[in-house]
């Protein structure tokens, strides 16, 4: 990937800021998401809650299914490939996906190596639990980061934990003396230049969204107040009682995340939220995949 192409890919993520990216499994759901104000959709065959329920190996979606969604909406369409599965990523690039999510939601294809994302022209978003993971993914060529959270649970605790961790590590790094950054680079296992960037700019060099467990407008507002630049909502919308209304409410909550009166109004009568699973009840921790 040329330097200019990487810059254009980071810039697309900048355009998504302040928005909600929704998981959809059919063209109909994609249209509902677009009409509700989603700034992008994530096309996948099964949403994380169902992947969790079904068990077994979970892979990239059928390209025909993804194309159906690309044809149904005018907003950017993202899709997931397995961690380390560069052939799946090549296929997604061939169908001109707007963003690839190298995602721990699917079964990892490689337990050592992530995809060398610099070899691709299309942009990648990757999950991270802490600053080291985020910068390692950026070093591999990711042009957008999201918290891992814990997908398919409707439990926001891990997204909160990951966002707080990344923000506090950024704050700590920023307060370091310049001559300490070399040691930080060693400790975080990331290139010095990225450490220096975070130190000087007090932020990641790419956009950082919240993901994994967001189910209500209040969850979305919480993540935005903790420093997320936008929100992914996976199972939270189409596993709830009234997807259309909930989707619209979450979109508005991300725009006015610091206005409690508006959030109160938005949170009224949304119908049933997804049932969810508490983190202690989960057998499979997806956030532990890919470090």
């Amino acid at each position: 990937m040329s330097e200019n192409r990487y810059q254009l890919n980071k810039e697309l993520a900048q355009m998504l800021k302040g928005g909600v990216i929704m998981d959809v499994t059919t063209p109909e759901q994609a249209k509902i998401a677009e009409a509700a104000g989603a700034c992008a959709v994530m096309a996948l065959e099964r949403i994380p809650a169902d992947i969790r329920a079904a068990g077994g190996v979970s892979r990239m979606s059928d390209p025909a299914m993804i194309k159906g969604i690309q044809n149904a909406v005018s907003i950017p369409v993202m899709a997931k490939c397995r961690i380390g599965h560069f052939a799946e990523a090549q296929i997604l690039e061939a169908i001109e996906i707007d963003y690839i999510d190298e995602s721990e939601v699917l079964s990892p294809a490689d337990d050592v190596y992530h995809i060398n994302k610099r070899e691709f022209k299309v942009p990648f978003v990757c999950g991270a639990k802490n600053l080291g993971e985020a910068l390692r993914r950026i070093s591999e060529g990711a042009s957008m980061i999201r918290t891992k959270g814990e997908p398919g649970t409707g439990d926001v605790i891990q997204a909160v934990r990951h966002m707080r961790m990344i923000q506090s590590e950024i704050a700590q790094l920023s307060s370091r003396r310049e001559d300490e950054l070399f040691e930080e680079s060693k400790r975080l296992q990331v290139p010095y230049d990225l450490v220096k960037y975070v130190h000087d700019n007090k932020k990641l060099p790419v956009v950082n969204f919240a993901a994994g467990g967001v189910a209500t407008p209040a969850d979305a507002a919480l993540m935005m107040q903790l420093g997320a630049e936008g929100v992914f909502v996976g199972s939270g919308i189409f596993k709830s009682g009234n997807p259309e209304k909930r989707a619209q409410a979450i979109v508005k909550a991300v725009t006015n995340y610091d206005k409690p009166e508006m959030l109160a109004e938005l949170s009224e009568n949304l119908g049933e939220a997804m049932v969810g699973i508490n983190e202690q009840e989960i057998a499979l921790l997806m956030a532990e995949r890919g470090k």
Binding site: E11, L12, Q14, M15, A36, I75, K252, N256
Partner: protein, 185 residues
């Protein structure tokens, strides 16, 4: 006071440009933010469908439309240009419909079609232009629309009275000349 539409998209980038020019601004995120001291408007990059939806739902569409027709200086970049256009190809309803042009959304295709270029804009030489899933102006609908830039045979910058529309993102570069031009309107 410049009002920057901040319902979704790259509004902070515009704010940083204005800060560097020592210009006061305010983010507009709901109707209550549209106060009487707003005498300029910037419509930012982002997803126009999302912005359109939020403008309606948050009751901001008509107050802002009125300000534009009152003649306050407006700059729309990318999605902002789409919001201003009188006609959007393939779509039934325009948004502010104040700028007599027809625009095509995602006119260069998906993200793989995003590109950068350099061009002259109304006497400003070699301006760096970032096109991100960009629209272009398919045609102008009034003789009073000034064409400020054509890149690869496509109109990418226009001016009509108080309104400036750019298909690209001056806010993504360090070059402040277009923001200066806007502030001189």
């Amino acid at each position: 006071m410049v009002g920057i539409l901040a319902v979704q998209g790259a509004f902070i980038e515009h704010a940083h440009c204005l800060e560097r020019l020592d210009c006061e601004y305010k983010f507009l995120r709901n109707r209550a933010d549209i106060t009487a001291d707003i005498d300029r408007l910037i419509l930012t990059g982002g997803e126009s469908t999302t912005q359109r939806k939020l403008l309606k739902e948050l009751d901001m569409l008509y107050p802002l439309k009125n300000l534009i027709s009152d003649g306050i200086p407006v700059m729309g970049t990318c999605a902002g240009l789409i919001l201003l256009a009188q006609k959007i190809s393939g779509e039934e309803e325009p948004v502010f419909a104040s700028l007599p042009v027809e625009v095509c959304r995602n006119a260069y295709g998906r993200q793989l079609g995003s590109f950068s270029a350099s061009g002259d804009i109304n006497g400003i030489r070699d301006f760096p232009m970032r096109f991100i899933r960009a629209p272009f102006v398919k045609k102008t609908l009034s003789d009073e629309v000034e064409i400020l830039n054509v890149t690869d045979e496509k109109i990418t910058a226009v001016r009509y009275k108080n309104q400036l529309g750019f298909a690209f993102h001056p806010e993504l570069t360090d070059d402040l000349r277009l923001h200066e031009m806007y502030l001189s309107l």
